[in-house]
Every structure is written in structure tokens, then in C-alpha cells.
Symmetry: C2
Subunit: 204 residues, 2 copies
DNA sequence: CCCGCCGTATGACATCTGTCATGCAGGATC
DNA sequence: GATCCTGCATGACAGATGTCATACGGCGGG
């Protein structure tokens, strides 16, 4: 028989993290051997505990789960990565896959899928929600350039053009040009809508 | 000896809900007897299962945890209510308390506080994070009028003045007046910032 | 009864935003 | 080397947004 599966859990909300640990603790063949609350603590914890599978939330301080996934994939290629997120944003799925994730789960899927996904990735399978995959393909790739994304992200909090220009070391006109092209690419009417749509797609 | 504490769990993300159930299941004196995923399913589930404590997430479809709390407080006054939320927004705390909640927990508190809070509210105590309470008091009450809130909420998705006017059956000028006063009350420069601040405070 | 606030509305004004044409430098591609 | 794309910039213009003064009816408090 095989030994238990060693899992690393990365999730910033303690209550959710410990609850997930309790859930996985109910499984006989799974053992949560490490828990971290920050994206930038993932790699060393995975190394220190000889982990088989890393379960990563996306929204975390320090580094996102996607960034952590890429790092793990580079440094510990044998390690399997499951990305777990609140938001089923097509762009997140795409980035997670590009970062080398083996599974992508949303938190409103039934709890049973979590242990199941862990076993499947260890067996070499990939696990992704088919409808999300379809949405990701339908949306296509992120149409925004780096600069456009950067400006849009900075504009998300309601900053004015002048503030954006100062913060990004650009001229005010350039800021407006970037926002204008972003607005057109996203087929919306103003920056607020552009921010909303880009967020929904996971393109920010 | 006393019988086990019967708990109702209301949280829309299945994985989180079931994980919390697993967590509470580890406690000898606590039993999760019902789980619901919608705010408008809380009351009848609580009635049907003779629940002692209801654990309510705020963000849920159907009705918010706050609305559900108010309903429970009205219909089943003996029932204790614990509000559990991702966002430690002062305005949420205030509304939860006004709705008759007995405890207010944020999901990034340690998991141990959950069972502890359940026992405390049953003992007649109230449980709230002191720093959040301080923030709620410091912020004061929501300064926005009903209409201002309504317009701001509608403006949050990037709608233009004309769209807002049509949607709310107001003149465009009136919409601008409301947004203008909201902007001034929140001491910000434009509607986008106003939306952000109002959200952060839990005033939307 | 009067005052003040809320909801609603208008008009005028200043500023901010979004669009477009145009320009230039650097890197990639052919 | 010519061409194209990207990043950056400018100026001009139209339209959206924010401010302010003003107005009126209703409602609640003093």
C-alpha cells in the first residue's frame, strides 16, 4: 500500500484554511503537513516538508497563488499543484494553466471534489471545470498590453488622470491614450466599466 | 450534562461551507444539523431543525446574512446568531448588530474562535473584534441618504448618468446632484472613489 | 408655526474624460 | 534596409462629470 499524500495548504484566511485542513483531515490517505498564509511562503514550506501536492488560493498577500504555482513548477517540477479560488474567472484559469497548475477548482464546487482532485493530479490527471474551460477558450487571450493593464489596475481605485500620470511617470495624455485603447478593446464606454470587465475576466 | 449544540450553517460557497462543517464536527459539543447556501433559506431551515445557533455568512444570494439575521431575530428571538464574514467592514458590523446578531467574526481570525464564539453566545455573551468595534465607532453612522446610496450602488458598475437616470426614473441633473453630495460627504474626488470608500466602510 | 432636511428638478459653469490625428524612437520581422 | 508594432507623446475637440445657486413640496422637530 502507498503512504499518505502530503499536502501543503496556502490560503490567507485562517478560518477557511483551517477548515479546509479539517476537511482534508477526514480523508484517510491525505495529510496536511504544512499551512501558509502568504504566497511568498509557499516555496520554502513545500521544500521543508517534502510535499506531494500544493493547494493554493489565488488571492493572497506576498504573491498570488498563480505566481506561487509558477515558482513551484520551476523549482520543484515533480510537485503537483491545485489552484483553488473564489472566483471562476476565465483569465485566472488560463494563467494558472500557463503557470503549470495541474488542477483548477472553484470554492463553490462541492467539497468532495477537493480530495478527489488531489488524488487525480497525483495519478497524473488534470482537473478543470469544463464550463470554465469553455469560457476561457471563448474569451480568448488577454487583449491588453502590459501598459494598458498597468494603467487600468492603477485607475481601479478612482484615481484621476493626473494622479495616474504622476504614479506611473507618464504624461497625462499618454494615460488617456492607454485607457482609451483599453476601453475600445474591451468594448465598453468608460474606465469604470473597463475595470469591471477586465476584473471579471481575470485580466487585471 | 447538556446536550450538543445544534448549529445551522449558511454560506454560499459549498467548499467553504462543508469545510466549516468539518471543522465544527471536530468539536464534541457541537453538531451541524443544517446547511444552506442562500440567505432566503435560513429561516425555514432554522425552524425545521430546532437550531440553537445560526452561523451566517454575509455575502449570499437570495438575502444577505444581515437580512437573514434580522429575520431570525424577529421570528425566533431565542436563537443566537453569529455573523461570519470575509470583509471586516465597520458598516457591516454596525448593521449586523442592529439586526440583532450576537457575534461578529471575520474569516481571517483563527479557527478556534469559531467554536468559542458559538459557546459564548449560548452563554449569553456577545463576541466582537475590539478593533473592528473601534473602527465602527470611529467611522460613525452611514452619512448617505437612501437615495444617495441607491444611486451610488447603481453607479458602481460604470453606468453613465443617462443610464442611471433611466434606471432610477430620475432626471440626469438629479443623478448628478446625488452623486455630487455623496462625493462631498465621503470627502473624495469622483464617483469611482466614492464607490470604493462606501464599499470599504460597508455603507453600500 | 417655522426651520431644516430630503427628494426632486433646472441652468450655468469649469473641469475631467474619451477620441482622434499625428509624430517619433526602438525593436522585431521579413 | 523597409516595414510594422509598441511605447510614448502632443494638441484639438466633443461629450461626460462635478459644482453651485436656486427652487418647490412634504415631513418631522422644536
Amino acid at each position: 500500500m502507498s503512504r499518505t499524500i502530503k499536502v501543503l495548504l496556502a490560503e490567507d484566511q485562517s478560518m477557511v484554511r483551517e477548515a479546509l485542513a479539517a476537511l482534508l483531515g477526514l480523508e484517510e490517505d491525505i495529510e496536511v503537513v504544512a499551512q501558509v498564509a502568504r504566497g511568498d511562503a509557499v516555496l520554502s514550506a513545500a521544500r521543508d516538508h517534502g510535499v506531494d501536492v500544493a493547494l493554493l488560493d489565488i488571492e493572497m498577500p506576498g504573491a498570488t497563488g498563480i505566481e506561487a504555482a509558477a515558482e513551484l513548477h520551476r523549482e520543484l517540477p515533480a510537485l503537483k499543484v491545485v489552484v483553488l479560488t473564489t472566483f471562476g474567472r476565465p483569465g485566472y484559469l488560463r494563467s494558472a494553466m500557463e503557470a503549470g497548475a495541474d488542477a483548477f477548482l472553484v470554492k463553490d464546487a462541492p467539497a468532495s471534489q477537493l480530495a478527489e482532485a488531489i488524488r487525480k493530479v497525483l495519478a497524473g490527471e488534470r482537473v478543470i471545470d469544463p464550463s470554465l474551460a469553455a469560457a476561457a477558450l471563448a474569451d480568448g487571450a488577454n487583449p491588453l498590453t502590459d501598459r494598458e493593464r498597468e494603467v487600468l489596475r492603477a485607475a481601479a481605485d478612482g484615481s484621476t488622470n493626473a494622479e495616474l500620470a504622476a504614479a506611473l511617470h507618464l504624461s497625462q495624455g499618454t494615460v488617456r491614450n492607454y485607457l482609451s485603447t483599453a476601453i475600445q478593446k474591451l468594448a465598453v464606454r468608460n474606465r469604470a466599466e473597463a475595470v469591471r470587465i477586465a476584473r471579471e475576466k481575470g485580466w487585471l
